[in-house]
Amino acid sequence: MSNLVSALDKATDSSGIAVIEEMGLQGMITLRGDLSAESVKIASTSVTGVEMPAQNMANHAGASGICWMSTDELLILCPYDGVADTLAKMHKLLGDTHSLAVDVSDARACLRVSGPNAREVMAKLAPVDLAPEGFSVGMFRRTRLAQVAAAFWIVDAQTFQIVCFRSNAQYVFDVLNVAAQSGSEVGFFK
C-alpha cells in the first residue's frame, strides 16, 4: 500500500564522516517467552531461517533474523510485508505455550551508520566499548544513544544497524549526524 511510510521515509545524510540512513520499513516482532522452551525455539528459528542467537548476540540473514533482547525476550526480524503471516505461523508453533508475540514493526525505526568511521560515530553516543576487539560482528547491544534507549549490532566491519523507538527516529538521526560532523574523526580505533 502506498500509504506506508517509515519513520523518516528513508532519509539519508552523507555530508559528514559516516553515512546515516533510515532504512525504511522492517518487519519486527517482539517475542516474550521461556527461551529454553522447545516451542519458542522452533517458532523463532523456523520463521527466520537462522539459529537461536547466544546471549547478547544476533543472527540474521538479509531481512530475517533473531536478536537476543533479554532473558525472556527476542526480537524477530522478517520482511515487512510478511509480518502477519510470520506472526500467524509463530502463534501456531507456540501453541498454548505461555508467550507473547506481537508486531512492533511500526513502533520502531531502523537506522544504519556506515563507513570507515562508523565505530567512532557510535562511540560518541553509546557508553559501550566499541573497539574492534571488544565489539564484533554478531554481537548485539541494548544501551542508550545519547539520551534515548536503542539497540544495535554490527552488520559488517563498517556498518552498524540501529533499532530505536519510532518517535525517537528523528532525534537519533539528528544526533548521529552531529556525531558524524565533518572534521570530527577521532582516530582512536586501530
Binding site: M1, N3, L4, V5, S6, A7, L25, T30, R32, G33, D72, H98, S99, L100, V102, D103, V104, S105, D106, A107, R108, E120, A123, K124, L125, A126, P127, V128, D129, L130, A131, G134, A146, Q147, V148, F165, R166, S167, N168, A169, Q170, Y171, D174, V175, V178, A179, Q181, S182, G183, S184, E185, V186, F188, K190
Partner: protein, 1004 residues
C-alpha cells in the same frame, strides 16, 4: 625589559611569524608560542588586574597553574573570558583583551581598593554588608554585582560544536612528561591497552628544559626515542592537547581534548570530552613550583623560577634583562645558569639556606660568575607595574635591608609540590613529606575501585620524586604494576638510568624573612588572583577560622579560577604556623574536578540546539507543523496545543476548536497515549492488583476506565483498558506514562509476583491513534466506510476490529469529552494516510483538528480529572470522588492498604468540587482559597486550591475544578481565592460536571 632572544626557543617555528592583537594593538609572535610567551616577547609584562584590589598583574607561571594572566579571548560567537595566557597557543589573528579593569589596563579606577586594603581585610564583605539589613538589596548588592566577575560574559551564542567520546582501556596515563612516557612504555610492553594524555601540545614535559643525560643521550633525545617507541606500539594511544580533567568512581576519568583552540579555522568540534573507563589510572601529572612569600611578590616581573627558565629555553624569551633569583632549593640555580647561558644578567642568587657545602649546581653557578648570597632573602620588591629592584635582607631576621639590587625580574622558587589533584579526586589520601615539605600521594591509601581494588597510582614527580633517576625508576615500576593490576603479565621492566647533578636538600621557607612584621606581611601575597595575603590568613586564624575549609572560605584563599594551585600549600603553612600546629595536622582543602576549568560546551557535548533533548514525534507530526500547530511539550512528546490560523491568537484558536468539536467534528492526534499489552494466564489477576478497579471481570470486546495507584495509595495514572481476548488486555496510559507504567508493571512482575504467568509489551508507538469527536463523528467514519459503527453494533465502552476507508483499524468507542467519540488505531506507518483520509471526509462535516488545550477544556466541562492537574502525587482517588472506580470486592490492589491509613480516611482531606466564579471570570490556575483565621505564622488559613481552570466557550464563562476542605458538603457556598494580581476572586462550589450532566451527547 622582556624580549625575544636571539637564541633558544626549542618549541618555536621561527620561520612562521604570526600576527595577533592585545587590547587592540597588533603584535608579532611565532608558531609554537603561547600567548604568554608572545606577550613577554613584546615586553607586555602587565597582563591583567587582580580581583579584589585591582592590583597590576603579570604572568607568574608558564603552565596551567597560572593565576594572573587571564584574558578575554576572541570575539562574537567565539568569545570566551578568563582564558589563561600560558595555556593559550598562539595562532594568526588571535585577539585578546585584558580584563577586570576600568577604564584601562594601565590606569584602573578600581585600584583605589588597594589603597583601602588596610580597611578591607579578610572577611571584609561579610562584616561590612550585614548592617543595615535594608541596604543589602538596594545599595550593597548592586555595587558588588557591578564589581564582581573577572572577564566579561559572552553575549553571543557559542559558534562552536562539541562532542563526547567513550573510550575504554587497561591503563590510562595522565601526563606526557618523562614519567608518563616511561610509564606508558612499561605498561605498553605488557600488551595492555594504554592511553596517554598530555594537556599541552608537546610531549616530554619540563625534563628537556631541566636537562641531564639518560642512557648516554640528552633528555630531549631520550624523549624523542621513547615517543617513537610508543608510536610503534599498536596498543598505545598518545593524545596531546588533552587534559585528564577528573578522576571519578570506578575508574571513570574525563579527558578534555582541545581540538581547534590552537587553529580556529579547522572544521570539526572545538572540544571533545572523553569519557574514559580505565582499569588502572596513572597520574604522571608532575609538580608545580611554589612561590616564596615576601613583600611585593605580586609585582609584575616576579615569576616562578621554572617559568623564567621555560620562557628562555622553550620560547627564546627573556623575562627581564637583570633577574634576581631567590630560592630555598637547588632547582632555581638551573634558571640562573640558563639565563646566564642566554647572555642575560643574573646579579645574585639569594639562597635562604644557610651556608654549607656546595652542590654541583651551586658550583656551576659560581663558575659562571654568579654571586650567591646564602642565608639571604628578599625584604621587599620595589616597583609598581613592573619590578625595579629588590631590597635584600637576612632570612633569619625581621627584614632589615642590607642592600638594594637593581633588577627588572625576580625568579623565585619555594620548592615543588606534586600535582596530587587527580590522585585525590576520588578519595586518594596524602602524606606529608618532610624532606620536600610537600604533600605526596600515600600509596597505602589509594582511591578504591568497584572491587575494592586500588585503581589510581601516581608516578614520577607527581608521586613526590625529585631526581631524574628516581622519576624514571618510579615511572617504570608504576607502568608495569598498573598493567599487572589490569591483568597483564609484565617482564621485569628495567628503568633507564640518568646522569644528573647532585642537589643539596631544600629547606622549607614559608615566610621571607622569617620574622617579617605586619607591614611586610600585609604586602606578602599568597593568592594573586583573589588578593589574599599572609596577614589575611593570620587574621582568619586569630578570628577563630581554624579549620582549613573555613579559613579558605573566609579569606577566599584558593577560590579563584586557578583554585589555589600556587597558593594552597603556602597558605596552609601560614595557617598552621598561626595555629601553632604541624602542617599535616592542618590538612588540605578538598581537591575537586576539573583540574582546570573545562568548557560548558564540552560538558553538554552534542546536546544542544535541535538535539538538546529528545523530542518524540507522532506519525502526524509534520502535518501538525504544516497546519499551524502551537506545540506543547508533554514529557518528551510534542503535542499540538492548538492549530492557529492566520489572524488568530492561540486563545482564539482554542476557543474555535472547543466550540467546533461540540458542534461539529474534532480530530485529535491521540497517538501519544500509552498502549501496553498484558498477556498470560494470570493477566486478569495481575491487572486486578495494578488497578483499583476489577479488571478480571471485563468482557472481551469491552473497555473499562481504570485508575492506578502507587503502593502508598496515591493516584499515578489512569486510562482505558480493553480486553482483547481471554488472556490478553490492552491498557491505555496517559501520554508520557507509557514507559513509567510499563516499568511499574515489570517491577511488580519481576520483583514481587515472579511466579505469575504474565508478559507485558509496550506497543505505544505501533499505532497512530485518532480521536474522532463530536456530533458528526459517526458520519465521518461511515463516510470512510468499512465497518458498522452504529450504536447497536458498537456501544459505548466497546471496541472492535475492522476496516475503515481501506485501513485495518481497531475502533474504540470511548469518550474523554462527553461527545459521541471514537478512537481509531491504525499502524503507525499508515497514520498520516489515515489522518489525511479523515480530514478529507470531514471537510463537509465541519471537521477541524484540535489540540491539547481544547481537549482539556472539553474534559473539564465534563468534570473529568486529568493526571497531573487534579493529581500531584499526594491525591488519592477518594479525594476526587472516584469511589465508583475503586473495587470493594477485591482483597488487595496496590494502594489499598495505604488508603486505609488514618490520614487517608480523614474527613479533613480536601475533596474535588466544581468552582464557578460569581462574575463569570476565569479563576487563576493554582490559586488557593482562604478561610477563617490564621495559622501559627500569621498567614491566612487555606481551605482549598484550584486544580484546573479554563474559559469555556460552550458555556461562555469560567469553569474550574478544585480540591476544597469539606467541599462536597458545601455546595452553593461562595469561597474566596486571592489572586497574585491583588484581586480576590469569589467562586461558588458546584458540581464538577458543567456540561451535559445527563450524558446524552455521548450516548447516541
Amino acid at each position: 625589559m622582556s624580549t625575544r632572544l636571539a637564541t633558544g626557543g626549542r618549541l618555536l617555528n621561527k620561520s612562521k611569524a604570526l600576527n595577533f592583537s592585545f587590547n587592540g594593538t597588533t603584535l608579532k609572535g611565532f608558531e609554537g608560542d603561547t600567548l604568554a610567551s608572545a606577550l613577554l616577547a613584546n615586553d607586555q609584562v602587565l597582563m591583567g588586574r587582580s580581583f579584589k584590589y585591582h592590583r597590576p598583574r603579570g604572568v607568574v607561571a608558564s603552565g596551567a597553574e597560572e593565576p594572573n594572566g587571564l584574558v578575554n579571548l576572541g570575539e562574537g560567537g567565539k568569545f570566551e573570558p578568563n582564558q589563561r595566557v600560558t595555556t593559550t597557543e598562539l595562532f594568526d589573528g588571535l585577539k585578546a583583551k585584558s580584563q577586570n579593569h576600568w577604564p584601562s589596563l594601565e590606569f584602573d579606577v578600581g585600584a583605589v581598593n588597594a589603597k583601602l586594603s588596610r580597611f578591607m581585610p579578610a572577611g571584609f564583605y561579610y562584616k561590612m554588608f550585614i548592617h543595615p539589613r535594608s541596604f543589602w538589596k538596594h545599595v550593597y548588592e548592586p555595587i558588588i554585582r557591578h564589581a564582581a566577575g573577572l572577564g566579561a560574559a559572552p553575549k553571543d551564542r557559542d559558534a562552536d560544536t562539541y562532542e563526547h567520546f567513550y573510550a575504554f582501556c587497561d591503563v590510562l596515563i595522565v601526563g606526557g612528561g618523562i614519567a608518563g612516557l616511561q610509564a606508558a612504555k612499561a605498561a605498553g610492553a605488557t600488551g595492555a591497552k594504554v592511553i596517554l594524555v598530555e594537556q599541552t601540545a608537546h610531549l616530554g614535559g619540563r625534563a628537556p628544559v631541566d636537562g641531564g643525560m639518560v642512557k648516554g643521550q640528552s633528555v630531549a633525545d631520550f624523549i624523542t626515542a621513547t615517543v617513537a617507541d610508543l608510536e610503534a606500539m599498536d596498543n598505545v594511544t598518545v593524545r596531546t592537547r588533552m587534559m585528564g580533567s577528573g578522576v571519578y568512581d570506578h575508574g571513570y576519568v574525563l579527558g578534555y581534548e582541545r581540538l581547534t583552540d590552537h587553529a580556529p579555522e579547522m572544521t570539526g568540534p572545538r572540544h571533545r570530552l572523553w569519557r574514559i573507563r580505565a582499569a588502572q589510572t596513572i597520574t604522571a601529572t608532575g609538580a608545580i613550583e611554589r612561590p616564596l612569600s615576601f613583600a611585593g611578590n605580586d609585582i609584575p616581573g616576579v615569576m616562578l623560577a621554572s617559568a623564567v627558565r621555560d620562557y628562555a629555553v622553550n620560547f627564546g624569551v627573556s623575562s627581564g634583562d637583570r633577574t634576581v633569583v631567590v630560592t630555598n632549593n637547588d632547582d632555581a640555580y638551573r634558571t640562573a645558569i640558563a639565563l646566564k647561558h642566554a647572555g642575560l644578567d643574573v646579579p645574585a642568587i639569594l639562597d635562604a639556606r644557610p651556608a654549607g657545602t656546595d652542590s654541583d649546581l651551586m658550583t656551576q653557578a659560581k663558575a659562571l660568575g654568579i654571586r650567591i648570597m646564602m642565608g639571604h632573602g628578599i625584604a621587599t620588591v620595589k616597583g609598581g607595574k613592573r619590578v625595579t629592584g629588590v631590597e635584600v635582607c637576612a632570612q633569619a631576621g625581621e627584614g632589615a635591608v642590607l642592600e638594594e639590587i637593581v633588577c627588572d625580574a625576580v625568579a623565585m622558587s619555594g620548592g615543588w609540590s606534586p600535582v596530587v589533584h587527580l590522585w585525590s579526586h576520588c578519595g586518594g589520601k596524602l602524606t606529608w613529606d618532610d624532606t620536600q615539605a610537600s604533600f605526596r600521594p600515600d600509596p597505602n591509601r589509594p582511591p578504591l575501585g568497584d572491587r575494592g581494588q586500588a585503581f589510581v597510582r601516581a608516578a614520577g614527580s607527581a608521586n613526590g620524586e625529585t631526581t631524574l633517576n628516581a622519576v624514571l625508576s618510579d615511572a617504570t615500576a608504576c607502568g608495569a604494576a598498573a598493567a599487572k593490576a589490569a591483568g597483564f603479565k609484565s617482564k621485569a621492566a628495567k628503568a633507564p638510568t640518568a646522569d644528573e647533578p647532585t642537589e643539596r636538600a631544600m629547606i622549607p621557607v614559608w615566610l621571607m624573612p622569617q620574622g617579617a612584621g605586619y607591614k611586610l606581611r600585609s604586602k606578602t601575597w599568597l593568592d594573586y588572583q583573589n588578593d589574599v595575603k599572609v596577614s589575611d590568613v593570620q587574621l582568619a586564624a586569630q578570628e577563630g577560622f581554624t579549620s582549613v575549609e573555613h579559613a579558605k572560605r573566609y579569606t577566599t584563599l584558593g577560590m579563584a579560577t586557578d583554585q589555589g594551585k600556587l597558593s594552597n600549600i603556602n597558605g596552609l603553612a601560614i595557617l598552621s604556623d598561626a595555629l601553632n600546629q604541624p602542617i599535616p595536622q592542618t590538612g588540605t582543602t578538598t581537591f575537586r574536578p576539573p583540574y582546570t576549568p573545562i568548557s560548558m560546551g564540552s560538558i553538554g557535548g552534542e546536546a544542544r540546539g535541535d538535539v538538546f533533548q529528545p523530542i518524540r514525534r507522532t506519525p502526524m507530526y509534520d502535518w501538525h507543523e504544516a497546519n499551524g500547530a502551537d506545540w506543547e511539550p508533554v514529557g518528551q512528546w510534542r503535542r499540538p496545543y492548538a492549530y492557529v490560523r492566520d489572524g488568530e491568537t492561540v486563545h482564539d484558536a482554542v476557543m474555535r476548536e472547543t466550540k467546533n468539536t461540540r458542534e461539529n467534528l474534532g480530530l485529535l492526534d491521540a497517538s501519544t497515549l500509552g498502549k501496553l499489552i498484558v498477556k498470560g494466564p494470570d493477566a486478569g489477576k495481575f491487572l486486578d492488583m495494578m488497578y483499583t478497579n476489577m479488571m478480571s471481570t471485563l468482557k472481551v470486546g469491552k473497555c473499562r476506565y481504570g485508575l492506578m495507584c502507587s503502593e502508598n495509595g496515591f493516584l499515578i495514572d489512569d486510562g482505558v483498558v480493553a480486553r482483547v481476548s481471554e488472556d490478553k488486555f490492552l491498557c491505555h496510559t496517559t501520554t508520557g506514562g507509557a514507559e513509567t507504567i510499563h516499568g511499574h508493571m515489570e517491577e511488580w512482575l519481576q520483583t514481587e509476583w515472579w511466579d505469575w504467568d504474565v508478559y507485558v509489551a509496550n506497543v505505544t508507538e505501533q499505532y497512530a491513534q485518532v480521536a474522532v469527536v463530536g456530533p458528526n463523528a459517526r458520519k465521518a467514519l461511515e463516510a470512510l466506510g468499512g465497518m458498522d459503527l452504529s450504536a447497536e453494533a458498537l456501544g459505548f465502552m466497546e471496541w472492535a476490529d475492522g476496516t475503515l476507508g481501506g485501513f485495518d483499524v481497531r475502533a474504540y468507542r470511548i469518550s474523554f469529552s462527553g461527545e459521541l467519540s471514537y478512537e481509531i488505531a491504525v499502524p503507525a506507518s499508515q497514520g498520516q494516510a489515515f489522518w489525511d483520509a479523515l480530514v478529507k471526509v470531514g471537510a463537509d462535516l465541519g471537521a477541524m483538528p484540535y489540540g491539547t488545550e481544547c481537549l482539556h477544556i472539553l474534559r473539564a466541562e465534563k468534570g473529568f480529572i486529568m493526571i497531573g492537574d487534579e493529581t500531584d502525587g499526594t491525591v488519592i482517588p477518594q479525594d476526587l470522588g472516584l469511589h465508583w472506580a475503586i473495587s470493594k470486592k477485591k482483597d488487595d490492589f496496590l494502594g489499598k492498604r495505604a488508603q486505609q491509613r488514618e490520614h487517608m480516611v480523614s474527613d479533613e482531606r480536601w475533596k474535588l468540587v466544581g468552582l464557578e466564579t460569581v462574575d463569570g471570570s476565569t479563576l487563576p490556575d493554582g490559586a488557593y482559597a482562604v478561610g477563617e483565621g490564621t495559622n501559627a505564622n500569621g498567614q491566612r488559613n487555606m481551605i482549598g486550591r484550584v486544580t484546573s481552570s479554563y474559559h469555556s466557550p460552550n458555556l461562555d464563562r469560567g469553569i474550574a475544578m478544585g480540591l476544597v476542605l469539606h467541599g462536597p458538603s458545601r455546595m452553593g457556598e461562595v469561597i474566596t481565592f486571592p489572586g497574585t494580581d491583588g484581586k480576590d476572586y469569589q467562586a461558588k462550589i458546584v458540581n464538577a460536571v458543567f456540561y451535559d450532566p445527563e450524558g446524552e451527547k455521548q450516548n447516541v
